[in-house]
Symmetry: C2
Subunit: 290 residues, 2 copies
DNA sequence: ATGCCTTTGTGAACGCGTGCACAAAGATGG
DNA sequence: CCATCTTTGTGCACGCGTTCACAAAGGCAT
């Protein structure tokens, strides 16, 4: 069972820490803006502020790329833009396919940020025959049947999945089998891929839940403070509370009844099960970035 | 001017590590799926597989919530669903506003994952007067002028920004001033917010760039291996050959003219097929999709 | 009851990422 | 050519996050 987990590689790809790689696009964006304003050089302090990071961190990040700065002066904007672009592999053109042209897929297809950074939408693919031929963002949608040939003919190595959760794993497997080695997944599902394939996921639902957690925490602390200070501030509008019924007591081994014991031991819920784990709810894809 | 950084201070919110919080939604999704299949209990091993993580990590994550498992048996699915939901603050209803109803904003509005997880779209807001009143996903779009009153009237504390990059910061400030304390940003910009406000960003462009980096690395290693196996001669680059010679000489402060110094950065990639990145300049920062 | 077997919960080691603080490098002015 | 000032590049320490490995806990069969 080569249930390749997500990305579990040498973490440090050829010397450049993953955390640094994730920030390079941020620096690149800030630098591009400076470049357009014809700013010749920037100090680590200025650039760090623009990118929203610590200047020491920025300098260390750049140190992994080499010594591209000039002490006492800063970094040459144009030169740095080129170096980072090269490091990120943006000096070449990356054909990309988007699978699943629903609301989200269409939004992605229309996203202007593709072309401007070295990415080119090579094809839009959807399983709905009715969509075939329809132009979206100026590109005719093609049917899933042609997925393999499209990828092969265009040398596509990056695929974007914007399908419903239920179709994601299958689409993923076809993409990988056809030669795709990097996938950006917008479907709310955990994708299983073989080693060597990179998967990055973007999930609106998860992001919101994380925010909700912090929001709840903030509300709690605030309440505690208010209580302590005895109503210094006006009581915030009570949020509509939809309280879930508490399953009451924790299941203390009790459930003796339905105990045919579906045998948890023997069937370690593996890939087969995981596969159908799809959307708990009819979850439609989700999220998207900008 | 409180150039508030993102969120990075309390790191460990009330004992639960941030990394753990980020995984809870993942567990919750897997558990919900099991719940719908009426599976009574799961072992950490099974659940970890379904969520795509290490079982030890999962157990440690749960240990921060309390001892909800039964040794020798595993975790009660229903009970755990409740506990995690409660911890994430999903037992209450969170009204959310989406600002910027373009392609992306509309896609988000249509996303089914909202309601299913305790989130409710309270309002759709757009700056275009022509959009006002138009129904999107069954909700009438409202004009930006009403932003403050909408937030106040509905007690909204979570806002989603799906506007073009240029408008994001301004919208953000209005949201925060109106009472929003958590923001999910889809615009490709770094938002500055005061302390106490959480910001999470989703950026397609960045994700793709990270994938491109790894893709390029893979291509490089592959080429190296091929070369080694093929007799270790001729650095035959595989696919989109990378291997670009350091083009522009680094700006060694040389030019006496501190002026604009167009810099040779545009660097015509001397070597073969490596297409030069699109325009050394036309790189428009991007207008959000939408 | 008793012993076996499964699975949790966690102590401890390890590695990555972050941020401080500073010496070295280089520009600039005299 | 030398002094001074600015900014880079990085050694070092600290803390979070991950993973291993195992003792304790509890079910289950005998």
């Amino acid at each position: 069972m080569a249930t390749g987990r997500t990305h579990r590689l040498p973490t440090r790809s050829r010397g450049i820490p993953e955390a640094t790689v994730a920030r390079l696009p941020l620096y690149l964006r800030a630098l591009t803006a400076l470049s357009e304003r014809s700013v010749p050089t920037v100090s680590s302090e200025e650039l760090a502020a623009a990118a929203g990071v610590n200047s020491a961190k920025l300098r260390k990040d750049f140190s992994y790329l080499g010594s591209y700065g000039t002490r006492g002066v800063g970094y040459d904007v144009e030169y740095l833009v080129y170096q980072i672009s090269r490091e990120l592999g943006l000096t070449q053109d990356w054909p990309v396919v988007i699978v699943g042209i629903g609301n989200l897929g269409a939004a992605l297809a229309n996203y202007g940020g593709f072309a401007s950074r070295g990415f080119r939408v090579a094809a839009l693919i959807d399983a709905d025959p009715a969509m075939a031929g329809k132009p979206v963002a100026g590109i005719a949608v093609q049917h899933t049947d042609e997925l393999e040939s499209i990828i092969s003919d265009n040398g596509v190595s990056i695929g974007v999945i914007a399908t419903p959760a239920g179709a994601a794993q299958q689409v993923c497997e076809r993409l990988v089998a056809a030669g795709v080695t990097s996938i950006l997944n917008f479907a709310p599902t955990v994708l299983s891929v073989p080693d060597g394939v990179d998967v990055r996921k973007v999930d609106l639902s998860i992001e919101l839940q994380i925010l909700a957690f912090h929001e709840q925490r903030k509300a709690g602390e605030e309440a505690a403070q208010d209580a302590a200070q005895a109503g210094a501030t006006a009581p915030a509008p009570a949020r509509p509370g939809r309280v879930l019924p508490d399953p009451a007591a924790r299941p203390t081994t009790a459930g003796a009844t339905t105990g045919p014991a579906p045998a948890a031991a023997t069937a370690p819920v593996t890939s087969a099960d995981v596969r159908d784990n799809q959307g708990p709810d009819g979850d439609v894809p989700a999220v998207m970035p900008a």
